[in-house]
Amino acid sequence: MSGEAIVTENLTKIYGGKVHAVAGISFAVKPGEAFGFLGPNGAGKTTTVSMLTAGLQPTSGSAVIDGLDLARHPEEIKRRIGVIFQESTADQDLTGRENLEVAAGCYGIPSGEGRARAKALIEQMQLVEAANRLAKTYSGGMRRRLELAVGLINRPRILFLDEPTLGLDPQGRAGFWSFVQKLRRETGLTVFVTTHYLDEADGMCDRIAIIDHGKIVATGAPTELKDRLGGDVVTLKTADGAANVTEVVRGLPGVSDVQKQDGTYRVKCASGETLVPIAVEACAKAGVGILGVTVKRPSLDEVFLEFTGREFREEGEGLTATDRAVMLNRIQGQMRGGRR
């Protein structure tokens, strides 16, 4: 275990003696690795980050960050890590440069050195033109880059990113991750990222832990997790009241599993393209009306469904995570406007 960037053993957080926000998670992150914590809202991602960044006392269990025991060296851990929170934490009434200089001072960095680091990060994050503008005039993408710069001011060994692209449009998200990837290549930084954007976790992380209801349900590289699904997934949507097609499809060539969920059948198979015409024909012969067919190459959506037994974005959950994030951003903007 020694030499790992992050190690947790049975890390647990229980609120009010009842709510098990994080229910005994154990994992290890290697130095230089990008480790993703993937799960829906309320899964326990932010609580985990809060504990690992010395902001919240675990109820039980242990964590070692960069070789330091969290319970014994929280202050030193704060010196060695960077944190990017899901909400904007920049002071809106300060310029980008001032935000960075104040952050440097908070780490006890001498003012001359702080100014030099701020200047370098402003250039690195392509904020030169906006450096002397108040942060409240920044676009969403610029604010995120400023957050990233603030999180790097102390030259951390490990960077924690808690839903860092929440509320950004796809272009802004891609831009943000390109900065993080470049940083990893140049510095060998260890990255611990929580997200509920499956595509981000897939493209960005070396390994992923899927967390649901405070428990890790699967860990592995994205390709490993997808391989565990055993091939493609064909979804057959049938009319209400149609006969059960499980028996019809189960015996077809290449099919490894069939699951029924709300009038649709998820059929795991070696090759979706080969199975579809055979399955449609078999259903027609059995008198089952097929309303729609989709073929999915294994994705993390499928992985999530496989390990938790439910869709990543539950029916009836209302707004999608993206919608919620955009709304949150809008409300924060309005509050800031009102405050001014």
Binding site: T53, A54, G55, L56, Q57, L70, A71, P74, E75, E76, K78, R79, V83, F85, E87, S88, T89, A90, D91, Q92, D93, L94, E98, E101, V102, A103, A104, G105, C106, Y107, G108, I109, P110, S111, G114, L134, V150, N154, Q332, M335, R336, R339
Partner: protein, 284 residues
């Protein structure tokens, strides 16, 4: 510790400088009180008979009891305004902490290893500076009003030496630090603006209304006079009035009132160190 304190204090003053509306309104309140309340609310000491008729055979006797030696209600009230602004100007110190919590700024600072003393100290310096500057503004304005025909103003009747000036400065600094500490502690311990304002309103009005900052001493019932003499606002104001108008009407010298004020400040700062230290410790 010093670098963290300096960086966070710089942040507080940058924010203050970027908010001219707040500066304007903080000046407007004492200006309106001095101009409207102080000039409108006048008491003629010559007609004051006191609790026992015949108690004050001469005007100086009545003045000594009613305004504790001040030559007019306005002069008495102008000193009280210094205590008043110490309470009202620091009231928002804690509210700013709550807003910083809501907007994530406080979370960022807490994510760094900056010690809680620097987090609290930076805000204390910025919050206490405002009432100190306002007190100077109030006293200067009140003295100027005394020279404008048709307006009442502050007339200093005693000779203020260096010791007296230092006593006045000490009283203003202590009362500002004390209330800034009190309200900042509330801001750090509480999370919601509604709860904060409910809490501070249960403190600021009783504190002001049981002090002799605005009430003429001689019109207070004796039980209120008793409470008032332990009130920190009264203690600070007493120092100013003794220095500006003489000590004849006071049982103790300014040093005793300053000691009382120092006691209040030490107790509240001590409580703040314990409570804020607990709230801002890592892994809280």
């Amino acid at each position: 510790m010093f670098r963290e304190l300096a960086a966070l204090t710089r942040r507080e003053f940058l924010r203050l400088a970027r908010n001219p509306a707040a500066i304007f309104t903080s000046l407007l309140l004492p200006l309106l009180y001095l101009l409207l309340f102080g000039n409108g609310f006048t008491i003629n000491p010559a007609s004051f008979v006191g609790p026992n008729p015949g108690q004050f055979p001469t005007l100086p006797d009545a003045l000594a009891y009613l305004f504790r030696g001040a030559p007019s209600y306005y002069s008495y009230f102008a000193c009280g305004m210094v205590g008043f602004v110490a309470v009202t100007a620091t009231l928002f110190a804690g509210a700013n902490v709550i807003f910083d919590k809501l907007f994530g700024v406080f979370k960022r600072v807490r994510g760094t290893p900056a010690p809680s003393a620097a987090v609290f100290g930076s805000r204390l310096i910025a919050s206490a500076t405002q009432p100190i500057l306002l007190a100077v503004f109030v006293l200067a304005l009140a003295i100027v009003f005394a020279h404008i025909p048709g307006l009442h103003g502050l007339t200093v009747t005693a000779s203020v030496g260096i010791v007296g000036a230092l006593e006045v400065i000490a009283a203003i600094v202590l009362i500002s630090l004390m209330f800034a500490t009190l309200f900042l502690t509330f801001g750090i311990l509480l999370e919601v603006p509604q709860t904060y304002f409910a809490a501070v309103n249960t403190i600021n009005l009783p504190v002001l209304l049981t002090s002799d900052a605005l009430y003429p001493w001689g019109t207070m019932p004796s039980w209120l006079q008793t409470i008032s003499q332990y009130n920190p606002v009264s203690l600070a104001v007493n120092v100013l009035r003794e220095v500006f108008f003489g000590s004849a009407a006071y049982p103790y010298g300014p040093g005793i009132y300053l000691a009382g004020l120092l006691g209040w400040t030490v107790v509240l700062v001590g409580l703040a160190i314990v409570l804020v230290g607990r709230a801002l410790r890592p892994l809280a």
